[in-house]
Symmetry: C2
Subunit: 421 residues, 2 copies
């Protein structure tokens, strides 16, 4: 891996200002385990009222931290007091030694926070297959200054979890639950091995709202579906994907207790949660390895939303579509190919395609008098919009979705083939 | 597309000598429709005794020639008298005009051969979405000299069907059916958009044996599974995949008529058919766009052969595995990742990996004292061997398969992004 990759063309000038979230403290440490001169360890502590929901990779080769966090989520009743995330070593495919390293890290944090080990969540990202030495992590935990009342370092925390990312990723939103104003902050990382199937590489979302664990779970699933499960960089699903949603419980909601997802008081919060998660998910795509353009792919006319999602991801993952976008080539035949290989119910002779808002194909063939000029101009931009109606069920099907994907460039090959990782 | 792509490092010095197949005549013509100064139209005629079997793309966006050939195969009782294959225009996603062009080409050939239109098979490869003008094809058919007794031009025929291929692909085998010696010739094309799901881009296999259509069908399915369905270049399935097996019927088999696939007299022929189809399928991979290395991936310990095939293809399609191979990086963690994302039944803690015959991982982690030196040396070669045992069913599962795949290089990006196609 080169010392410094060229930044993504989508890299923002600075990390966005994230406000404090009451009831938690998040900060970064340097363990020196793999990187030097940069934070590589994100630590967070939460008030006793905090609750958590999580989604994890569907990989059959989950990392040791995924095993541990999944177990704690199941057995701990949605309680969370501490979170530790290291970058540089994924602690994946490391057998019993890896499981022990994860447990030692969690135990050390539980001791510092005087809580149960079940209330600790951990995540790791980086190289697969190298035994993780927990000693530098344990030292950093021992040396850290914990106190939930301290000001948080959101920028440092976001910086601490990146690997081949070229910028740190964060976003924030506010919402009202009933009359109570609450905040939601999100940080994420991810650059290659991005085709999340339950979550992204790593994403952590925090709110000061008081929301019971079962509702956090339902809302996280809903928002994940529309954000991290709707992006792709390279179709490769990581062993470490983890997305946690933590509610510190400081901001109580007035009126009766929140019990049901369809409680109208949650409407604005659910929208804001999906919004903030889409924001960081799109940031992940915009920092995809070697990315030069962002594709937004709208699918309509599928038998259901899930079918639409699979068709959209098939387009977004197709190397031939991705290279056409990279090459600014309005080669819409490759979109036809990708829809065809998706295996979903589609109607070739009703298929329509728009690129950049320009009609390209209608009813299974190119539009009469098709003029490529405006489409070619759109392809020269940085944000490419593709809309496909697949015309299922005689054109009556209503399934739709939106997918975000990066293109495939020489930069991706350079990052993954030209340098030893 | 550049005028001349650099040849694949696997390109043979010359086209292999293919012997005559009695009862057929195959040759090439130049239509000038898209290319100049090269043959772009393959024509073949067959004796009245000829029989055919075929497999086609599973794409939901099949080309007009696929529609027509599939229909003729169904309705024609396995009879075939003529075959016409043009390169440069796939006649895919071309609506009613495309269907008419396919029909006009078939009708013209039927007229020249004085046979039924149902006995004509056609295929097209090239650009998707451009309306095909049948006139140059019809002119070439009218001008061609047909006579099943003429000597064939195998090299010209193989040359006529290529597009971004850097070499023409052919192979031949002999076998005995009972006491009768028979020949099998195969030609194929394919370079990008190769992740066949029933066949490859285009492959045509010819034998002088007399074999009824239903047995041809069974044997073609069997051999396709182990050849074209076991290769991948870029995971993109074409709209035009077509594989036909034609038996001219000249070489009669002594003894009772062939009726069943398990007739012991067919044993040698079935093996030779699989063998010749694997030969051209591997040639397709070895001419994959931008290929620098050929991966042979052996999967064992899967719940069944089909699961093994899906795991092998997941490894062979993974951009991160492909770029690691291109970069001569013994990054076996990416193989772990790919097995994990396959979604198949596997046991992380029993997984074993060998590269180039060297033990890399056993029982879910790297082998003790792992020395990367010999593995790194193997990665510098042109043919990379990866063997994975996924340890399903407590290590007792017996599903296995072999997959061939190309790597992913700057050449692929250059071919598909840097030039307008």
């Amino acid at each position: 891996m080169p010392d410094a990759l060229p930044p993504s063309p989508f890299a923002p000038p600075t990390f966005p200002p994230l406000p404090e979230i009451e009831g938690m403290h998040i900060f970064a440490a340097e363990t020196g385990a793999r990187y030097t001169g940069r934070p590589d360890f994100m630590l967070a502590e939460f008030s006793e009222k905090a609750r958590v929901a999580g989604v994890f990779t569907t990989s059959k080769m989950p990392s040791a931290p995924v095993d541990l966090s999944r177990l704690n989520l199941k057995s701990g009743g949605g309680r969370i007091r501490g979170l530790a995330v290291n970058a540089g070593n994924a602690n994946a495919f490391t057998g019993a030694a890896g499981a022990r390293a994860a447990m030692r890290t969690a135990r050390s944090l539980a001791k510092r926070l005087s809580c149960s080990e079940q209330e600790i969540f951990i995540a790791s990202t980086g190289v697969i297959g190298e035994t993780l030495d927990p000693a530098p992590l344990v030292s950093a935990i021992k040396a850290a200054s914990f106190d939930v009342a301290q000001a948080s370092d959101w920028s440092g925390a976001a910086q601490a979890i990146i690997t081949t990312d070229t910028f740190a990723k964060g976003a924030t939103r506010t919402a009202k639950i009933g009359k109570q104003s609450v905040r939601i902050n999100a940080v994420a990382k991810g650059s290659g091995m991005i085709a999340p199937d339950m979550a992204t590489m790593l994403a952590f979302v925090f709110t000061d709202a008081a929301i019971p664990a079962h509702l956090l779970r339902a809302m996280l699933n809903e928002a994940t579906h529309k954000s991290f499960n709707a992006i792709t960089v390279d179709s490769d699903t990581s062993t470490s994907d983890t997305c946690l949603l933590v509610a510190t419980g400081v901001k109580k909601v007035d009126g009766p207790a929140l019990r049901r997802l369809d409680d109208p008081r949650l409407g604005q919060f659910r929208k804001a949660l999906t919004d903030v998660m889409q924001d960081v998910a799109i940031q992940v795509v915009c920092d995809g390895e070697g990315v030069s353009k962002l594709m937004t792919i709208d699918i309509a006319g599928a038998v259901d939303d899930e079918a639409a999602r699979r068709i959209g991801l098939t387009i977004g993952n197709s190397p031939l579509v991705k290279t056409a976008v990279a090459g600014e080539d309005a080669n819409w035949g490759r979109i036809v190919m990708a829809v065809g290989k998706s295996g979903e119910m589609v109607d070739r002779d009703r298929l329509s395609i728009d690129i950049g808002g320009h009609k390209v194909a209608r009813r299974g063939r190119v539009v009469p008098g098709y003029d490529e000029t405006p489409v070619a101009r759109h392809m020269q931009g940085q944000r490419i919009h593709i809309a496909v109606n697949v015309g299922a069920a005689g054109g009556k099907a209503q399934g739709r979705t939106r997918i975000w994907a990066s293109d495939l460039t020489h930069g991706y090959i350079s990052i993954n083939a030209d340098y030893r990782s």
